[in-house]
């Protein structure tokens, strides 16, 4: 632009003319406008910055809330299904180790240690209903009844405070369940359950049970003949009579 006093060339921002030294009126207005616009710019910039910051903070909060809600839902699900997850895990472990575990079970059966056989199956979550162990089903289930039959018998022998009558009743129930397992027709749906090895193991368990009844409940051999073929009710009555006499 040109200076209005000396017509010399000067820039828009120069407050005084570099040629004549007179004040540049346009520059004053320009500087005033620039200061005003700069102020507005700074205010707008600050507002945008603060708004963006606020939104970012809220976004972080919302993300945190979402994550926490998802975590809570997952934990509620885990908590509600913890047993199921653990059972599934142990079931799968038992399935994976079927050869190893059945070898151990065979050892216990061979040693006629049916109580530890039960404990082993219990520990490893081997059930008589597992497909992988279906060929051991009668023995596993009978070993369970055998274990609790022995436990109740010992309680009766030692007259534990659990209650004499309830122990006799409980012992009879386990004995009846054991004889149920001896009937292989109950395992028809289980693949290969009716095996020679299973029958032999069940016979040994039955032998032990009969001997326990002879020694500790004072049954005679004749009384125990055909014990297996009696009805549950008849067996229970006979045992209760014997135990009643013992009292």
């Amino acid at each position: 632009m040109k200076c209005e006093y000396c017509n010399g060339t000067l820039s828009f921002e120069e407050e005084y003319c570099p040629h004549c030294g007179q004040r540049n009126k346009h520059a004053q207005q320009h500087i005033k406008d620039m200061l005003h616009y700069q102020g507005e710019f700074e205010t707008t910039k600050k507002d945008i910055h603060e708004t963006t910051k606020e939104y970012s903070r809220n976004m972080v909060q919302l993300v945190m809330i979402t994550v926490l809600v998802i975590l809570a839902v997952v934990m509620i699900f885990v908590s509600a299904n913890a047993y199921s997850f653990c059972f599934d895990y142990m079931d799968k472990k038992a399935e994976r180790n079927v050869e190893k575990y059945t070898a151990v079970m065979d050892e216990y059966i061979k040693a006629e240690d049916f109580r530890r056989l039960y404990l082993f199956c219990e520990e490893k979550y081997i059930s008589g209903y597992d497909e992988a162990y279906s060929h051991y089903s009668p023995v596993i289930r009978a070993a369970t009844d055998y274990y609790y039959f022995c436990e109740n018998l010992v309680w009766i022998m030692e007259s534990q405070d659990m209650g004499y009558d309830s122990s006799v009743e409980s012992m009879c129930n386990y004995l009846n369940n054991f004889y149920y397992c001896m009937d292989m027709s109950h395992f028809d749906y289980m693949e290969n359950a009716d095996r020679k090895e299973n029958r032999e193991a069940l016979e040994v368990m039955e032998l032990y049970i009969k001997r326990m009844l002879q020694s500790y409940c004072h049954f005679t051999e004749e009384e125990l003949d055909g014990f297996k073929d009696l009805s549950d009710a008849k067996r229970t009555v006979l045992i209760e009579e014997k135990m009643g006499n013992e009292e």
Binding site: N58, Q61, S79, E112, V154, E158, R211, S215
Partner: protein
Amino acid sequence: MKSRDIRTIVLNIVIVALVFLNIVIGGVAIDEVRSFLRTYREDESGFLYALDAEDYDLMLDYYYQNCGSDGKEDKKLQEYYDIAKYYEAAFYYKIHMDAGDVERAAKYQAIMDEISARVGEFAFALEDIDKRFAEY
């Protein structure tokens, strides 16, 4: 107070509440899993109590509970386990001896002999067990 400040405060309160909720639910979930995996073990005082009460079948229960089937025995409790195993062997020894099955009885006799040979201060318990089974 600006509305955005209120929004931030509300969101913070929600976050804190959710954190507490997660801590509680997490605790419950961990407890559920732990209770499944937990194995209850009887300590020496339990065995000593059973021994004092001459409750040998309780010792056997504790033995089964502690050792399960794997037979991993705690050396500190070995003497108590020996009494429990002696009681178990005596239980089976009697039924086979009464039936005249010497072969099976011998198996349990061997266990009883082995334990008798190494038992220390609790020898009185073995004598008591022998006496008890003789009376049945």
